[in-house]
Structure formats: structure tokens, C-alpha cells
């Protein structure tokens, strides 16, 4: 198969639009460092102001939550020719004992059953980029 070359352009997404895109999705990928190694997990999430909230059980995910985490949300067309990706770098905290039902409602109900730990990622840096593919200029 040929490697098709397209005229791809990338543009940065401003903070306001990043926030809007984050609010419009429900599944993201959490990146954590466990024993010095990166791991990635999909999670159902909700928004709390600018923060990301989700539920988990004690497990590998929590082990990485003592420091900084990355949370990535994207929507990319199946052909891979256009799409966007928003990346939140932030600090994850176990807020199970610091918040009530309000946040629990916002954290999406995980499909895999009850998860008792509520985590909030407070963003430090939010970046986004959008990619478009256009036709190649005439050669």
C-alpha cells in the first residue's frame, strides 16, 4: 500500500475551546507513571469546573496518583485525516473524603460497577491541537 501524502496542518486550540471539547466528551485516557514506567487507562469522566473527576477502585491507577498525571481526550476520524486532541497535565487527588454527592454525580458512572474512590485532576497545563488534511498543492 502506498503511503499517501497529504497536506496536513496543525493548529493550537485555545484554552476556552479545550475546555469546551473536554466538557463534550465522557471518555478519556489517564496516563500515569507507575514504578517509573508510563501506563495508560481509559476512564469515564466528568467535569468539575476546570477539573476532571472520575471514579476508580484501588488498583494500579491509584498507585500513580501521588504525583502529576496526564489526561488526554481526543476525537479523530477513522481515516485519521482530521481530528483533535486535548491534553491536561495536572495533579490528581483522592477527594473521596472531601466532597459529597455533587461531585459523585458528575463523575460518570463507570460501567464496570461500583468504584469507591473519587479522583479529581486539577489542571496545571491544558493544551490542544487540531489537525486538518487538505489536498496537496499542485506540484
Amino acid at each position: 500500500m502506498d503511503l499517501v501524502e497529504l497536506n496536513m496542518s496543525t493548529e493550537a486550540i485555545d484554552f476556552k475551546d479545550c475546555r469546551q471539547l473536554l466538557a463534550g466528551e465522557r471518555i478519556g485516557r489517564l496516563g500515569v507513571v507507575v514504578d517509573g514506567r508510563p501506563e495508560i487507562f481509559p476512564v469515564n469522566y466528568g467535569m468539575d469546573g476546570d477539573g476532571i473527576v472520575f471514579r476508580t477502585n484501588q488498583g494500579r491507577k491509584m498507585l500513580g496518583l501521588s504525583g502529576e498525571v496526564v489526561f488526554e481526550v481526543d476525537r479523530i476520524d477513522p481515516e485519521g485525516r482530521s481530528g483533535w486532541s486535548v491534553v491536561v497535565h495536572g495533579r490528581a487527588e483522592d477527594i473521596t473524603h472531601f466532597d459529597g454527592p455533587r461531585l459523585r454525580e458528575r463523575a460518570e458512572t463507570p460501567w464496570s460497577g461500583p468504584k469507591d474512590i473519587l479522583v479529581r485532576i486539577s489542571p496545571l497545563v491544558v493544551t490542544g491541537r487540531r489537525v486538518h488534511a487538505g489536498p496537496l498543492p499542485p506540484s
Binding site: 485516557r29 508510563p38 495508560i40 481509559p42 488498583g59 485519521g80 461500583p114
Partner: protein, 147 residues
Amino acid sequence: MTAVLTDDQGMEILDEAECRRLLGTSQLGRVGLTVGEVPAVFPVNYCFSDEAIWFLTGPGVKLQAAEAGDTVAFEVDEVDERARDAWSVLVIGTSTVATGLSRTEHAARVPVLPWTAAERNHLVRIGADFVSGRRISQSAQQHPPRE
């Protein structure tokens, strides 16, 4: 039917053969790196071939990780929100730059587009050394969602 193994979160644990099969069914995944002590995640178009993940990249942290031979994570998932059915496969492996391949060989290895712009001429290989996966489906679900 064989027994379904589940983890502490009630998710079905996929066996290695199924994980590798699923890796071959998708073209979009996310690479996870450690930059300093901080994780980073990037979506990439990839190809699963010869028990490895292959993708094209340009100058940047993904290429630096490959040049350094870092251990990286690679995650692929598919989520059907309507059916509440989802799977996720995580690969942990060594990232290296594939050198000595012609452009045609690159194309044969990665028959997908790099996700972004030009100058993505470096072919990166992540060896699928450790592979694990989970599936959540209505049928496998042990507990109803909490109200």
C-alpha cells in the same frame, strides 16, 4: 465456554492472544511516555505487525524516547457507549527507531497516515513485550452501575 477471569474492578481480563488480535483490529492508539517524572500521552496512527507497534513521527519527545530506547506504554481501546461495551489493550515495550528502511518499506510497515503534519519520517517500533487487556460488557458485568 471457559471461565471468564475478572480483575478487582470486575472487568474481564483478556488473554494475551486476544490482546494481540485486538491490536491488529485498530489503527489509532495512544503512546504514553515519561518525560522527566511526568507522563505524556499522544494519539498516533499505527500498524501492528511482527509483534510490534509501528508508527511514524517527527522530531519531538516520541522520537527522543525511541532514540533513547525508553520503555513506553501504548494503549488501544474501542468503546461502544450505546452498547456499554468496551475493551482496552495496554502494551509496555521498548521504543526504538527503525533505521535502514526505505520509504517504500516504511509504507509497507505503516500503511496508515501519520496523524499530523509533514516531517514525520521516522519510523518508531514499540516491541509488544508485555501485553494486557480488559473488556467490559453488559454480559460480563457483575455489578449494576451505582445509581
